[in-house]
Symmetry: C2
Amino acid sequence: MRFGHFDDDRREYVIHRPDTPLPWINYLGTEAYFGIISNTAGGYSFYRDARLRRLTRYRYNNAPFDLGGRYLYLRTADGEFWSPTWQPTQTELDDYECRHGLSYTRIGSRYRGIRAETLYFVPLGETLEVWRLKLTNEQQSAVELSVFSSIEFCLWDAQDDATNFQRNFSTGQVEVADGVIYHKTEYRERRDHFAYFACSEPLEGFDTARESFLGPYRSWDRPVVVQQGESTGSIAHGWQPHGSHHVKVTLQPGETREIGFVLGYWENPRDAKFDPPGSQTVDKRLVRPVIERWLRQECVDEGFAALGRRWDELLGGLQVDTPDGDTNRMVNIWNAYQNMVTFNMSRSTSFYESGIGRGMGFRDSNQDLLGFVHMIPERARERILDIAATQLPTGGAYHQYQPLTKRGNNDIGSGFNDDPLWLILGVAAYIKESGDWSILEEPVPYDNQPGSEESLYGHLQRSLRYTLERLGPHGLPLIGRADWNDCLNLNCFSDTPGEAFQTTENASGGVAESVFIAGQFVLAARELAGIALCLGRPAQEYLDAAEKMAGTIAEHGWDGAWFRRAYDFRGNVIGSASNDEGQIFIEPQGMCVMGGVGVEDGTAVTALASVRERLATPHGIILQQPAYSSYRLELGEISSYPPGYKENGGIFCHTNPWLMIAEAIVGNGDGAFDYYKRINPSAREALSEVHRCEPYVYAQMIAGRDAPTHGEAKNSWLTGTAAWNYAAITQWILGIRPELEGLRLAPVLPSGWPGFTAVRRFRGATYHITVERGGSRSLLVDGAPIDGDVLPAAPAGTEVTVTLTL
Amino acid sequence: MRFGHFDDDRREYVIHRPDTPLPWINYLGTEAYFGIISNTAGGYSFYRDARLRRLTRYRYNNAPFDLGGRYLYLRTADGEFWSPTWQPTQTELDDYECRHGLSYTRIGSRYRGIRAETLYFVPLGETLEVWRLKLTNEQQSAVELSVFSSIEFCLWDAQDDATNFQRNFSTGQVEVADGVIYHKTEYRERRDHFAYFACSEPLEGFDTARESFLGPYRSWDRPVVVQQGESTGSIAHGWQPHGSHHVKVTLQPGETREIGFVLGYWENPRDAKFDPPGSQTVDKRLVRPVIERWLRQECVDEGFAALGRRWDELLGGLQVDTPDGDTNRMVNIWNAYQNMVTFNMSRSTSFYESGIGRGMGFRDSNQDLLGFVHMIPERARERILDIAATQLPTGGAYHQYQPLTKRGNNDIGSGFNDDPLWLILGVAAYIKESGDWSILEEPVPYDNQPGSEESLYGHLQRSLRYTLERLGPHGLPLIGRADWNDCLNLNCFSDTPGEAFQTTENASGGVAESVFIAGQFVLAARELAGIALCLGRPAQEYLDAAEKMAGTIAEHGWDGAWFRRAYDFRGNVIGSASNDEGQIFIEPQGMCVMGGVGVEDGTAVTALASVRERLATPHGIILQQPAYSSYRLELGEISSYPPGYKENGGIFCHTNPWLMIAEAIVGNGDGAFDYYKRINPSAREALSEVHRCEPYVYAQMIAGRDAPTHGEAKNSWLTGTAAWNYAAITQWILGIRPELEGLRLAPVLPSGWPGFTAVRRFRGATYHITVERGGSRSLLVDGAPIDGDVLPAAPAGTEVTVTLTL
């Protein structure tokens, strides 16, 4: 069952009814000012940091779901009122449509002959959002309308705002000047920033106190001010600062009017906060021109067009035309878009991530790179250097760092032994895309300590050494707190309720080893060797280490029909046919084959067959089977989930593209593409009543076959799934793969495809690629045949025509 | 304007309408299982720790305010439904009444001829709450009713529950067996505890998934199950576990039926969690008999009666009959009740305290003692020893400790230099009440380190020494992070938004001194000297130190017409006529006079006159004047509040009783009682539309004269205000004052009073006290005149008649 449709021409998903199975959200903002917005205008906004600079208040897990947002009310002279975005009044509208586009959302409806469409977006270069309401009178007679806006301000620190009422109910402050509502809580003390909410029309009235606007014991479904048709002019003193304008318009039959609202964030210079100086009145001289500009309709038009051009440019890095519509749609629009959102948000802000908890993940951010490095290589470069500067002198890593300070997060700690290797893979991806070898010479400190700088290349060497210095009794890498699977906690032994598995002090003296890290090491060592070779530096050491580790995997990591997962604290095997539960895990199958392990001797193919037999479901590939039916002290969080959910037998989508890549590596294009389609959200659109999450982006998890809700997705948007699926389809199935030596073209297509075309921007040149099946293999570049599958370097700015016949 | 009335005979506050200015709450539970409940059944429950063992979900600062609670719905066969507690349907009821009593609440209403009354309480000795619904058909014909219950389960850790959705939406689990709903999220792993929700009647149906009960995008005001009259039998898998029963009853005209619900918490032995062992099914064999018992009506009747007897006993420690009804009501019922609640909750759980943040305060808990030590001296003894064990070897103190672990809280830290002195005052109060000198010989560790034990007396000596080892250039005590006023941060200099003033690293090298601590030191040193004298230990040293400090105050702490507040980091005076703002503070005026400073030389009287002139308002005495109009880096948080709120010129009620005591000390009974009445909540009942908080308990703060909302109270219930006001009225104005040598009777009455009577339990004996005005002073004990004003010791169990003629 569908709740909408894709409008690929406009790069929009169009939602047909407001009561989607879950709120289906979108993101506003691409630089510093961000927001989430649902299909019924729910959500919130923030400046840079979703925890510390939250502009508007939102209550997660509320009932109704998704209450709190960017609300408008229309009221006719007879007293009837409704919200043109359905929420919060939930009026049964005559029609309704939400169009989620690239960094904008447009929600339209018709009721009582009034068409109302609201466009929400954040202009480039600004720290504000625009709401443009377009009203059309489709009645036969003139109509007099009251328009009310409503937002609730958050008192900046979202965590404190939700818990510290003995203070916060006394601190709220606002100003209203020239019809603009200024929210200035704590501006009087240490904040140099405030929020503002402005309207393009002369005001009939306003409210800034939530209770005055809503009325006592009321919610947003029937604010007393809207019901009565009259603002109160309230000024908030503590309690809940709120912003509401009241505007009256009369529309002749057929007439259209536009009303603009601007909600923004502003920082004044610390020494110019007040006007006059010495007063407590916000100095508005710098912000006023910005507000006035964005209340002008022509400025909004141009700003919206500029946003579209920005996305043209970003998406222009790769556009494909394949026989499969779901592939085209995801690669050309939504997967790329999700990659950019993931880059901007890391794991902080979604319908599932409350913006309170998590910093930037060392491991996450390195993987997110894979998805956006071709769109903005310079941002990837910056991100890499930020990450590397949090690496520890041991070569280990803080598991997370804070985006505002860029310092490693001591609370989460370190010792996730896969972390350092991701830095090698991230840097390799960056160089492959950009050809920018200079990054390796950048001096980067350890743990942000001045004086500790070493070249980034030195960091990569330490990363590899970190693994080699931490091998277990089988010669496999020690797992530490966890490897990629944060929930496989082999040194934790937690029996205390609520204790965090990732931060609790680990038991010492164990020998827990990870086959996953072993596979990852082989991959990373070979990548570093490739880099070293290009640089003319010694590489043999890395190749030897990779070879040796591959041998160790073959000896101690192979279970007979698949790769084992790990050895536990006491040396017992995990992910083996000899286990009663958790016999086979997906991660080592994917990572070992990606590292090349078993590709030559055929064990890779055997492992992949086992995956298909034991883990694949119509909704994707399960993380492990059989799921753990009870808690296992020696395994940790993985066994804490009910069977079929999350790491305990859920379809953890992040891992699925590894299997797609592995299938491509062994030449199975049908198998790779089959897996791709199983979790491709567009391909699952018709199952929306089962999938429940947005059909335009990947979710982190789909409930596995042991779950009563098999097929139900959760945790959409912010997941490494986005970057890896993008890599799997574009680099391995379509085979347009950046390498150190240039752009490789090595598709592994499903057998039914006659071919595809693509346009790929690479190191400044643009490649027009045609892949077609023919009698015999040939590769033509600008009409001339070339050997191998790596396209020769082309000068920046040139257009290159490439034809590959398979 | 009133929203209810006091029913003193039943010890209840009776609320007449549901839409009180703010939710007016009460507390359920007195031992281990607790809840808050509003006058419309809002609130939540927890076991011991409001953060880590939260049973039900509540959303603070929601709209409507106070949504989420212990809800019932009634539905007639024609499909109409309503909540007999008004929320959440907000149906306009034909009548409504909420009776908040001592640890129980009863909410009744009538609608469509159905009278419904629900009694909520926690039986003594149990970890569960009972809801008893009594339905009466007042119609002329039989009526068929559906009853639906509704609670939403919290996933135990309230902080995690409100932020970590990427995990929590996948973990929820329930069981339903024999009509009982078991909430067992995480029971499968490390929790040995679960919640249950049972009903006394055979079920027509049930729901355990919130969305199934409410319906998509709905709230509790119109659950789809109630609207349709049929439960769905939903079993929650992740998302939001919920509990709802459906019961059908037919009531003949005039018939009354009772339906019982039990919501509880249960811990199984770790090795007997599952039945059968090896399964994942909750072992219910231990809990079933408990559930069955409390579903029986006669058991509930007896349990409720036992609760009443418990309160009879607790309140029996002191009952007074004075000419002032507000005094009688607060002393005999509500203030004593609030003292017990404050003792149980510290500052964790109220409408303003979200249960997430704060541990037990070293300073808070010592002061809270003052209010309940006469009711349960043995609990006070235990509390004192817990507190003292967190004292540091330096004599300093952690500012807070955690109630579950009883360890000092490193996050909040130490260095609040008033803290150690409160231990002396708390112990003195305990000994005075109990006569239990043995506590001083108890071995108590420092910082909970085994091996560091010293007698409690030694702890008190170190407390005093802590101050003497930290004197500033004027000889006044250094203030450290702060003294009693947490918001006067003289060493902080915070310019970072959102930084905590109390935990940020302080600047070093300053000389900030506190006149308040100086006054407190004089008081504490004299108390310790008194204890030493009784013990026959050296006391002169303490008396000399007190004398010397009093002299220092006179020299450097006296401003000419009042006591100064402090000297800042650089030695500049605070709380002086020479300041432009913050010229006079309330705290040193109260504390110095309580320490006896200036009582002999008349400066005390001068200071009190200044308070009356500059700080007293009809709504209470303001903390300081003039309020700080802008943020002052050198003063910290106090200047962060808008003028008139909290410490920045608010009426911080905690401090007001110090002035009442000071007035009593200088013999001004009219002045003392005048201040008492200004903030006495019962006396402010008629101002409820201004005061807004509950008229039956003290609030921490009333907005001061600089605030636009002057007279509006905030942060009711959990405040040291309760204990101190109780001490002021009972010990100083009524003058029934425990001393080391026995019970002193030294009233300082308002001039208009002819006298009063009281019954006071003291060290096991019961004193029947009559105070009356007469020609000449005499004190008769059992008819015989005695000298002085200390009653001779009476054997436990005896009744003593005391007549004081003034």
